[in-house]
Amino acid sequence: MFKGTERKPFNDEKDLVQVQPSTRIILRSDLLHSYDKPPLYDVTIEEFETCALDRLRILAEIESSAARNRSWEELKVVTNAQCLKYLPLHATSAKTVDRDSQRKKDHLGHFVLRLAFCRSEDLRRRFVKAETTLFKIRYDGDDNAERELFLSSRDFNWIPVDAAEKAKYRKELLAAYQGAKNESVREQAFEGEKYYKVKWTRVPDLVEKRKVFLKGGWAYVPGKELSSIVFQEFETLLVNALELTARSLPRLDEDTRIVPILDNLSQGFLAGVPSEWVGSGDSTNGEDIKAEMIDDLAKKHFPMCMRTMHDNLRRDHHLKHFGRLNYGLFLKAMEIFGRILFISLNLALSFNKEYKYNIRHSYGLEGKRANYAAKSCQQLLMSGPSEYGCPYRHYSPENLQSALLSTYSSQGLASSDLPEIMATVKGSHYHVACTRVFEMTHSSFGVKKGQGVGDGESVTHPNQYAAKSMELYKAQDNSEVMVVE
């Protein structure tokens, strides 16, 4: 990974990734560009990675939505909120200065992810599904003018049905026309509807649901269903493009800077994309914190993984090296993002010296003085055995269930909640399981199913979990804040 300290100056030639021989930037004028042209401009490694990561957050959220059984409307709300945060894209009509850079980010992110996800059949399938969904959401959210612009910007090869032909098949077209329950309202809408003909093979989804009239292999598509053709087209183009990319990818293998990024990105789907919970490293001031205080914090705010580490540490006064490192990094990041909590370096009064060293180490004060980022869910999932990894992944189903109950029953988790959690675990959606636990244990704060850690976001980082939890407590009762700045 390319962290700030390792990165060379921006304009260092070596850091420029030649995505294509450097010509100048060409971007489509329409918002819903179909990614016809690869990036023909120079990008830095940093841009390369951040554009892709930000896009991946959104795609991972879209993918987890299926596992969380979100409705289309819920998915739209969540995705739009995420897009606003990580990948804003203003309409063509909007007069923002940022428009071109937004476009570039969108474009570049898409193409980097193509590289990352073209490499296996399974990844391609998932990427196509998530990207097509993102495309649909954007299309849905656009104003008519924007859509018109897009529809006229490319040739979709549909044949307008003239009034005479519409009259000829009036009975059939009307029977197949979906609309309001009220017959006269439906009929009125039908009269105003414009029809287009395409070969039925281009609208299989409409055919499967009998949403069109078919005659001699032609599907008569009402104007309001044209998007179906567009989505199908988008999907087909992307499938073909990914297969093409897969075949030309071996040439990229030589670039040792890009391949690790791609590897890392394609793993992002497993656990969602981590927010970078990097501490600033200037954590020298602060109050003493007693281990008992952490007990209380841990009980109220920690996700299962960190809770386990904390409990083990309290019980054994000992954690294995990686566990210590992870836990220390977590605590440190909590300090930064919790904003209400300062953990002193003297934290470990009751712990042994080695542990103290490790906390310091992870604070960047001792050892290599490296500025470590707290481990994300993705990293915890990748790491080995249960002691310092993700319990949802590493525990046996029996152990996980009893651990869940003993850890969270005081916060309202009941054994009747277990089947739902275990079902997501069984489907390998560990972060979804963790998110559900968060929702269940924070329902007294008004957190509802599907809200996740805010805006419907799934848990992708232990610190995100803890920070949100503390935020909820704080909002409810300021007096309960136990640590003062």
Partner: protein, 408 residues
């Protein structure tokens, strides 16, 4: 069927050349034939997959050598199936195959009273006949395909092979969509579930309206008179379940309980009378009229084995194979005369061999065209005519393309 009988059948009667023409679409071998998978089932249930051949002669030679109890036809792959082991996995994918349908009598068990399971008679064949009429019209009128070959499966079902270029090239997704469009009644245990096919308040999708209009004529003879499906308590209770009007249901039930011998025809008349008691144009009457249409669809609409149609790489028994249990040859069937078709009149392999024997020394054994002198002839002629139309189409398409590129 002794293996000797089968061998003679393959040597002297099986129309390899006709099969080749039908699969290949042209006289000279193309990939449609050379990259096509053939799978053989040998005695003792040995199954040999991924065979392929360059010519009809090669196929015949292999068939006579292996003497399979039957063989199946699969898709056209991106490489020769016999080379499967030597090509890279990604390079061996199914590209084309006929769009196929399989309709089997067993899916009709819940709605037939004359036979069950593997048995079939002329009476229940009428269900298959209704299915063929509906499906044949739908495929042609709605999807515009023209090259349809119907083949009797040798026992209790029928297959449809569609060879139009577009149909050959359909992806699995598109095949699934087409099957979804066609499916109304799910087979097996789902068969008793209520239909859910109406789009708007009450109108049927136009495609199903066309089917109902066709089946409305068949329904009284087949379901009421011949199968007499609503005679038994079980039968009429199944009918009542599909009537969404509790008042009508309880009235009918009472009438029928009091008169156990009442025929299905009379019961249907009772039902219709109840419907007509509601005022024309009233909501109740519209609901019941719709229910009547749904009932007709439920009992007579084609019951398709969806899995067969959805995947390009599904194997299907080749026409003119012999059914191992009945000995009947899987012959093509003329959809326009489907109502006259009697599965029990289909020639069996032993009958054909007897016909050959009767010719005595008048013919050279192993001749290419021995079938001409037997009752297999009209069926082979049917396939030949079908293949000829297909080849003519391909010739025209090619010439059309040639003209276009010439003009450029």
């Amino acid at each position: 069927m002794t293996s000797e009988v089968m061998l003679t059948f393959y040597r002297r009667l099986y129309p390899f050349k006709s099969i080749f023409n039908w699969l290949n679409h042209e006289h000279a071998p193309t990939q449609l034939f050379t990259h096509r998978e053939f799978a053989f089932t040998l005695q003792g249930d040995v199954y040999l997959r991924y065979n392929s051949f360059n010519t009809a002669e090669e196929l015949k030679k292999q068939v006579c050598q292996l003497n399979p109890t039957r063989f199946e036809i699969g898709p056209v792959y991106s490489a020769r199936p016999k080379d499967k082991k030597t090509v890279r996995p990604g390079k061996f994918t199914p590209l084309q195959r006929e769009l196929v349908f399989d309709i089997d009598m067993t899916d009709y068990d819940p709605v037939r009273t004359c036979c069950s399971g593997a048995d079939i008679c002329r009476r229940c064949w009428a269900f298959i006949s209704a299915a063929v009429q509906v499906l044949h019209a739908a495929i042609r009128e709605q999807f515009g395909y023209e090259h349809l070959l119907w083949v009797y499966s040798g026992r209790r079902g029928i297959h449809l092979w569609i060879s139009d270029k577009e149909a050959m090239e359909l992806t699995d997704d598109q095949r699934r969509a087409l099957v979804g469009w066609m499916t109304v009644v799910k087979g097996g245990n789902e068969a008793s579930k209520k239909l859910n096919v109406r789009l708007n308040a009450r109108s049927l999708p136009p495609a199903l309206q066309a089917a109902v209009d066709r089946l409305r004529i068949i329904f009284p003879d087949l379901v009421l008179s011949d199968q007499n499906l609503f005679a038994s308590t079980e039968g009429y209770e199944a009918l009542l379940e599909q009537i969404p009007d509790p008042a009508v249901v309880s009235k009918l039930r009472q009438q029928w309980q009091n008169d156990p011998s009442r025929s299905s025809e009379d019961k249907w008349v009772n039902f219709k009378k109840e419907v007509s008691k509601y005022e024309r144009g009233s909501a109740q009457r519209a609901t019941l009229t719709a229910a009547m249409e749904d009932i007709i669809l439920h009992y007579t609409y084609p019951r398709i084995d969806a899995e067969v149609s959805k995947h390009r790489n599904h194997l299907l028994k080749a026409p003119f194979c012999v059914h191992p249990k009945t000995g009947r040859v899987c012959v093509p069937v003329d959809p326009d005369r489907i109502e006259e078709f009697d599965p029990e009149s289909v020639p069996t392999v032993s009958q054909l061999l007897r016909e050959l024997d009767a010719l005595g020394g008048k013919t050279e054994p192993s001749s290419e065209t021995d079938w001409e002198k037997t009752s297999l002839k009209p069926y082979v002629d049917m396939l030949d005519k079908h293949a000829l139309r297909l080849m003519e189409q391909v010739r025209l398409d090619k010439r059309g393309k040639g003209l276009c590129s010439g003009a450029l």
